[in-house]
């Protein structure tokens, strides 16, 4: 029976870990995307301090999950998000509305891609 239980347990463990990872990444990314949307709205209202603060806090939260994402996601995607975070902070500091809006939009898409790549969807599998 152990020849059944051991591999079945390994498969169940991997499946469980994969599902937990997908849900953890999704749960973390959703509020960051909402925060970045809020930063875009702040910038539209010319509240540059608010926009810069939101981007900074979101980046801090992103950095706190860095090791986890480095282990599970393609490093190219993470580096692209890092670059966009740095650019968004810089545009917010310079108060460049057009560039900031475009950069924040790209960042939201990039973060969603990172989260979406972890989901167990038919689209991803195929």
């Amino acid at each position: 029976m152990k020849y059944f239980i051991l591999p079945a347990a390994v498969l169940a463990l991997l499946l469980g870990a994969a599902l937990w990872n997908a849900s953890a990444v999704d749960a973390a990314v959703a509020p960051w995307c909402a925060a970045l949307t809020e930063a875009q709205e702040s910038a539209a209202r010319s509240d540059w301090d608010g926009a810069a603060r939101v981007v900074r806090e979101t980046r801090r939260a992103w950095d706190a999950h860095r090791v986890h994402y480095h282990v599970v996601a393609a490093h190219d995607e993470l580096e692209a998000a890092d670059t966009l975070f740095a650019a968004a902070e810089s545009y917010a500091a310079e108060r460049d509305a057009a560039e900031f809006r475009a950069c924040a939009a790209q960042l939201i898409v990039r973060l969603r891609v990172v989260a979406e790549m972890q989901q167990m969807t038919l689209k991803n599998i195929l």
Partner: protein, 227 residues
Amino acid sequence: MATAFMRTILLYTILIVGIRVMGKRQIGELEPVELVLMLLISDLAAVPMQDFGIPLLNGAIPIVTLLALSMLLSYFSMRSVRFHRLVCGNPTTLIRDGVIRQDALRRNRFTLDELLDELRAQGVTDLTTVKYAVLETNGQLSVLLYPAEAPLTPRQMGRAVEDDVFLPTVIVNDGRVLRSGLRDMKLDETWLKKVLHARGYRSAREVLLLTVDDAGTVFCVGKEGGR
């Protein structure tokens, strides 16, 4: 992570079905399940090793998944003959009572040249001497000759033969005493010392190989320049 896991299961299944559909002659010496495992694992290990942009987990998860799936398939194959046949296929008789079964050759995509090659590799050049040729599930051909063509055995000659074939157990391997071997043969270090001294060795370190079989026959080879 989830994608790697599910893709591995999907690709493993596709490859096993593919190998089964291709027929036994494509297999070589491995069962379909083992062949697919070997094909996939070697590549999976290489990719994250070379590309540092891919997380190691993306290589490790498919490998662990494959090993677990392979163990599960082995388990179900042991439990159910029907499942084993489904995954590994059945042995196919290509020659029965000296007659080549052409439909079986076609079904397994086994050409006549390949059959003759395999027979020659087993020392058979005359097809009329073959009673049965069976294509095993691992792709190997088992050949059974007509009794008149097979080597004569003592039993066929009505001779009684003494059973003097014993499996030797290694006691000393390159100067190291294998205590498990001593235990298996119900011997001890005192016996070993006696045997070594009788052959002029001071210790096991001077011996390259020492074996003993169930009849108590000792085979001993010293190391070059060891004494």
